[in-house]
Amino acid sequence: MTSSNDIADVLDRLCPMYLMLDKDGRVGQVGATLQKLRPKVPMAGRLFLDLFEVLRPRRVASNADLAALGHTKLRLSFLDSPRTSLKGVLVPIPQGFVVNLSFGISLLEAVQDYALTSADFAATDLAIELLYLVEAKSAAMEASRSLNKRLRGAMIAAEEQAFTDTLTGLKNRRALDHILTRLAGAGANFAVLSLDLDYFKLVNDTLGHAAGDHVLQHVAKIMVEETRENDTVSRAGGDEFILVFDNVRDQAMIERIAKRLIERIKQPIPFDGQTCRVSASIGIAISGRRPECTPAHLIHQADMALYAAKHASRATWRVFDSAMMVDGVPVRAAAGNNIGEGNTAPQGGV
């Protein structure tokens, strides 16, 4: 019959983290690497359960419990610090038990806590490969992370410099400012049309954001179709659009466009089996080659006219008239105004 010493000789070579226990659960031979984890505490002669806590199987509290175990998998941790967790297997032999242990997932901490070297692991142990893989993957992950960071920075920079509204494909506010500055600088004769959707919030609230987005895209398409190639159609934000018409010969042309926009936008917009209904209010300001007409000034005037249009009723348009402002403050339509019917300011409804 094979003696404990013969078995220990083999185990010493094959698995440096083994323990041999007698029938009472007392440690006999110990693998070199396992003993290296507790250099000041010789394990031989100690009770297994004085060294380790058995986490699995549960309820192994006494040597009798241990002795009752058959061939079984173990999860252990040291009772003293560092409480490294270990996985293992227990095999009954005639003289008692053989327990073989390994670090499992706690390997990374273990090599640091105990300054282990590759010589401490069994020749067949994948520990070194695992450590290699962890480092290699960390390095690769770090490279990926730094790439992601740079790409994100580049994306933000590109968005900041973009001239296009991503939802509608129209020009954005940034682009609009550039165009207006150029036109004003050239002393051009141009018109600004400020368009605001009526009932848009209702669509968003009742039919959802997807419906709202669809409406914005649909309306954007109409605006592009109803304007000339050289005109600028921009989304200023939310449901507000600003259109710029260069080389405006007569006001009537702009009013015709406003009328057509209002007419088309108020048509029902089907979306996902439902119908979205919005309309458009429009304010118009015309530069008229006046030197005081800065871009900001014109947009402000168009907004005043839009305000007047919204106040009059929905789905209408107004052209800015100086009577709409008193000391830079818009005159309220309801308070005995100049904007109502019979007003000299051009107006329209569809």
Binding site: A115, S118, L133, E135, A136, A140
Partner: protein, 195 residues
């Protein structure tokens, strides 16, 4: 060519000769950019143009430049993670030499789309070896020369290396081990993960 290889060339030139020189090389190569991303894959032609530009910009034979690059990859502090990965190959320089057979597979384990040429170590005696670098990456043998030399330093071994030339795109390096424990070598602590 994998970004890691292009990035290695970039790091080598920038650290050894400076960013200005690197910009000259990329301009001469007509790349149109000067920053490689380690985790992207680039057109092979970029790397070929880069190497051609390296040859003309540096008044040195290409093998010498490539060998310096190999040395840089192991010995520069910035490349510490790579040195550590190579040291996982074994406890001694001879273990390390034998682990080179597995290097392409190990590399693929970490970065699945990075393909290095297959290598085979033939041992003639305990002190005499030939490393055979299969085709795939022209000049790779010269880079390996630099890596082998720097790793010998790392292990504290004393070796003589010779590039025995290229036969049918296969490169042969002869390695003569003079002393395994010539110097103390550098520390390799399994648990000290390179930041």
């Amino acid at each position: 060519m994998h970004g890691l290889i292009n990035k290695a060339i970039q790091s080598f030139v920038c650290q050894t000769y400076g960013v200005v020189r690197w910009d000259q090389v990329t301009t001469a190569a007509g790349l149109g950019f000067s920053e490689f991303e380690a985790m992207l894959v680039y057109d092979d032609q970029h790397t070929i143009d880069l190497i051609t530009a390296l040859m003309s910009e540096f008044d040195r034979p290409l093998p010498d430049v490539l060998e310096d690059m190999g040395t840089f990859l192991v010995s520069h502090p910035q490349m510490e993670p790579l040195r550590r990965l190579l040291r996982f190959g074994g406890e001694t320089y001879v273990d390390f030499l034998h682990s080179l057979d597995d290097l392409p597979d190990r590399t693929r384990l970490a970065v699945s789309d990075l393909h290095l040429p297959a290598m085979e170590l033939v041992d003639h005696s305990v002190a005499s070896y030939t490393l055979i670098c299969q085709p795939g990456l022209p000049g790779f043998g010269f880079v390996m020369m630099g890596i082998l030399r720097a790793m010998a330093d790392d292990y504290g071994a004393l070796v003589m290396l010779d590039h025995d030339g290229v036969r049918g795109a296969t490169e042969y390096i002869s390695i003569t081990l003079i002393e395994t424990a010539f110097a103390a070598g550098r520390e390799f602590d399994l648990g000290a993960r390179a930041g």
